[in-house]
């Protein structure tokens, strides 16, 4: 086995980030001329998700199912993965750099004494070694690192790879789950009744982001309408100024002290474009800026800009997009 991919699930369903990690893992396995094996941790019945992993390039799927693994349990997940990695000896282990992956990957790395590259946008093999490229300083620079030893651990930034179908056998192998009760020190549960309708900015396909030019939190319905028109995979973002003013939650902040995002489409509305904000969204594929100040720095990075009053432009934009969508 050359590459092991940790396939993340929530409530028994694979997450998009798992398929993206699968794609990164498959590409690396091909470069190494080796096999790509997915690992699925979850509750009883989780093996139903193995098929999608095979379809996205897994030669084998190791399934560890146990009630204790249904939801995220840091110590238990670490224990199961630590043992699997030591037994199977992969060259690389690929995680998603999701909330779960960012919590879990460092624990696993510490457990087995391996080097971990976080939030990787490119993972590859060169001159007999493995390397990773990752943004640092919130994306103001790119760091290329080489792994000195095996296994190389990497977490893949959401949206850095797009999930590709690449059908393989996806041969399911059940693995025994033995947990040392002494190790489990924490209880983790997802808070119920709080599910927001919109995806997290880090994972959204499009982001509608608002800044101080929106003048107040009461005007966010305009941005919500636009996000609605663009579709359910559209997230809402915000500038630091807006979050610091308490208009929007910090989970929406894009930039150096918020989230660094790379969606296909980023629409910045009433955001002037402070350097720490630009760092966080410059890797979006297409940037649209709407701002009344033609000199605003945001226009220097935007692919397309409209100068003018957001309160007039945004409703029109929502309306026209809805029209387009209804025409199919």
């Amino acid at each position: 086995m050359s590459v092991l991919v940790i396939a993340e699930q929530r409530n028994g369903a694979l997450r998009e980030a798992a398929l993206e990690a699968m794609t990164a893992g498959r590409e690396l396995a091909d470069a190494l001329d080796g096999e790509c094996t997915a690992v699925l941790l979850g509750g009883p019945g989780i093996e139903d998700e193995a098929e999608a992993l095979g379809r996205h390039g897994a030669d084998n799927v190791l399934v560890a199912s146990d009630d204790a693994l249904a939801g995220y349990a840091p110590e238990s997940y670490t224990e199961v993965l630590g043992r699997l990695i030591e037994e199977r000896g992969p060259k690389a282990v690929v995680f998603a750099a999701s909330a779960l992956g960012k919590d879990l990957a460092p624990r696993v790395a510490a457990r087995i004494g391996a080097g971990l590259a976080s939030d990787v946008t490119e993972l590859g093999s060169q001159d007999g070694g493995l390397y990773a490229v990752r943004p640092v300083y919130a994306g103001k620079a790119l760091l290329r690192v080489g792994f000195k030893d095996s296994p190389a651990l990497a977490s893949i930034r959401p949206r850095a790879y797009s999930a590709q179908e690449n059908p393989r056998d996806g041969q399911v192998e059940k693995v025994d789950v033995e947990l040392d009760p002494e190790r489990k020190r924490s209880e983790v549960r997802v808070e119920e009744g709080e599910k927001k309708g919109r995806p997290d900015v880090a994972e959204a396909e499009a982001i509608v982001s608002g800044g101080r030019g929106m003048q107040g939190p009461e005007n966010w319905n305009l941005l919500e309408d636009l996000a609605e028109a663009l579709g359910p995979k559209t997230g809402l973002g915000a500038s630091r100024a807006v979050v610091d003013a308490g208009w929007r939650p910090h989970s929406e902040q894009v930039g150096q002290t918020g989230k660094v995002v790379s969606p296909p489409l980023y629409i910045a509305i009433g955001i002037s474009g402070a350097i720490q904000h630009l760092a966080g969204m410059r890797t979006a594929r297409c940037i649209v800026a709407i701002n009344k100040d033609p000199e605003a720095p945001i226009f220097k990075v935007a692919d397309y800009g409209i100068v003018g009053d957001a309160f007039e432009i945004v409703p029109r934009l929502s309306e026209e997009i809805k029209k387009l969508r209804s025409e199919g």
Binding site: V136, K140, V145, R185, V188, E191, A202, Q253, G308, I313
Partner: protein
């Protein structure tokens, strides 16, 4: 309640990045260094917990060069009781740094270890969970709400589109996210007192890096695009470009 807060000295978030001649490091000329912004939340939380408990010590710890003393003094001025400088070069990945911190923490009486969720220079987001694993402690990362009472801790952490509640018994590790609290400013009195507070220096020897830096470079500049027009009448042109040129609609 004894708390250790691990912090890092980092370049200010407003800097423009320039690469040094070696092509592997940041050109530090003219750069202002600050206490990592997320660590401010960790220090504040430690001070609040100590105040609520009415007893205990807050120790601030960092792995870094002599320059990091300035950062430690900043936290002492905020109200921490003492500081420890582990003299060494932080590792490229998080593990080497975590090993040195864990070693130093193991030798001390401590109920809670606090971190900022990540340093804004290397953006690794690794060290808190690694220190927890090395010490066999429970851990909650990216924490936006924290309650501690009777030796029990409940933390609310951010996940995509929801929150997770993490509960454990102390001792344990928590990494602070923005929003956890409002960090205080150091008072003039605090700054004066900070000069007299103990700052211990420990030589930790070589810090192991499992990764090596091959190259640090600036991302390709985005070439500024076009202003498609002014006001709402420019919307149809914009949509046409998004569909036909950018193909994102």
């Amino acid at each position: 309640m004894n708390i250790i807060v691990c912090v890092k000295r980092v370049p200010d978030s407003e800097i423009r990045v320039a690469i040094a001649d070696d092509g592997k490091t940041l050109d530090s000329q003219g750069i202002k260094y600050v206490l990592n912004p997320y660590d401010e939340f960790a220090v504040e939380e430690a001070l609040k917990l100590r105040e609520t408990a009415g007893e205990g010590d807050v120790t601030v710890m960092t792995l870094g060069s002599d320059d990091a003393k300035e950062t430690l003094r900043t936290t002492l001025a905020m109200g921490a009781d003492q500081a420890v400088l582990l003299k060494g070069e932080p590792s490229v990945d998080g593990l080497g740094t975590a090993e040195k911190l864990a070693e130093a923490i193991r030798d001390r009486e401590c109920d809670l270890v606090l971190f900022g969720k990540q340093a804004i220079d290397d953006d690794n987001l690794q060290v808190p969970a690694m220190v927890a694993e090395l010490l066999g402690l429970p851990c909650a990362t990216v924490v936006v709400e924290l309650e501690v009472s009777d030796g029990k801790l409940e933390a609310k952490r951010e996940i995509e589109g929801a929150h997770e509640l993490v509960r454990f018994e102390l001792p344990g590790v928590v990494a602070a996210q923005k929003g956890l609290n409002e960090p205080r400013y150091a008072s003039l009195k605090g700054i004066m007192q900070a000069k007299k507070k103990p700052l211990e220096e420990v030589d930790v020897g070589t810090v192991e890096s499992r990764l090596e830096v091959l190259e640090l470079k600036k991302p390709e500049e985005r070439s500024g695009g076009v202003i498609v027009g002014e006001g709402p009448d420019a919307v149809p042109t914009l949509l046409q470009k998004l569909r036909e040129e950018a193909k994102v609609l």
